[in-house]
Symmetry: C2
Subunit: 211 residues, 2 copies
């Protein structure tokens, strides 16, 4: 497998995978880079270039085999296996995340939930018992997880992330507004709605100006 | 103002803005592209190129004026004004979004909340009365909003988005797993945690293989 695939390419692959999986369900055999591009708002050239990192999937002028490309992407992305996920912080947001439809169907099993609030610890949420966050390190050493989803208050976010990293978790999805830090070798993604809104106001400003 | 700035550049600007605003708070006068790059995980060349779309902010070898660059980004991104936001879908996720700290401080005012659940309609949540989603179109025509945040069940997501677009909303943040469609001229961003997780499993797979 090639070593230095740009992160921006990796980040687009789940979009390709999702579209292809849908086409496969619809019974489609072949798809062109033009059609993939039109559906995803990416140029066909970009799609061909992205997929070329992983070998030759398409035949010139014949399009891609939907079944083969879906299977390859599933394997490349590690979606042919199951991943253990812990959610830390079970307030409104953490609970909404924990009940998000689609994790299980995509191979992500939420196996543990943690909170610091004594009123929540040891309660049952969606069939799982909430653990005390002060047990997080000890628990992970006995029962490792692959991914930590962090939805705690910003003030304690870095502490929780440090605990996860220290206990061997290699992937963290950060829902807090804090831009937490992780060492090299740990994958980190941030979900901060303010940044998404700010990337749209640039365009909105021009809409207002046109009125 | 230049016309064709790539969306990937626009999407990075909020990150620059946030970092610069923090440096400004810390009393910093000047910052180099090297330092910005190191903090954000982007090459200094990329930063210089991104910012060059908007004019000449830095002096060769002297770095950027933090105050001036922050102010320019604030203006470019439209953060020097206030934006009206409606949240549609006030389940767990919608409530978590509505109570997200940081919207107001960044100029985003949640002015309306909608749901279809009769138990929620007309109740008070965080000082706002939840409106019936069947009033959405009529309300927006009387009292327009700039941005719609959609956190409804996937089955009705496209309908809600169509209503927003039809009533003149030009920016939509989609929290549903459905990849909704909008016409040209409407900005759309998706927040789907599964896609973030899938972009990390590619790396996790290699971690497992190294064990």
């Amino acid at each position: 497998m090639p070593i230095d695939i740009p992160d921006v390419v990796i980040d687009r692959l789940p979009l390709y995978y999702r579209l292809l999986a849908r086409l496969e369900l619809e019974g489609r055999a072949v798809v062109s880079s033009q059609e993939l591009g039109a559906e995803l708002g990416v140029t066909p050239a970009q799609i061909r270039k992205d997929l070329s990192y992983f070998g030759r999937f398409g035949k010139q002028g014949r399009g891609y085999s939907v079944a083969r490309l879906t299977e390859e992407l599933r394997s490349i992305l590690g979606l042919d296996t199951r991943w253990q996920v812990a959610v830390i912080g079970i307030g409104r947001l953490g609970r909404a995340i924990a009940s998000y439809p689609g994790f299980e169907g995509q191979g992500f099993d939420i196996v543990a939930m943690y909170d610091a609030n004594p009123k929540l610890v040891n309660t049952d949420i969606d069939g799982r018992i909430v653990r005390n966050v002060n047990q997080l390190d000890a628990d992970l050493r006995k029962q490792p997880v692959d991914i930590g989803i962090v939805a705690v208050p910003a003030e304690v976010a870095q502490d929780v992330v440090d605990t996860l990293v220290h206990a061997g978790v290699h992937a963290i999805l950060n829902y807090t507004p804090l831009r937490v830090q992780v060492p090299d070798g740990v994958e980190l993604r941030h979900i901060n709605p303010v940044l998404f809104l700010q990337s749209m106001t640039y365009h909105l400003k021009r809409v207002r100006a046109d009125r």
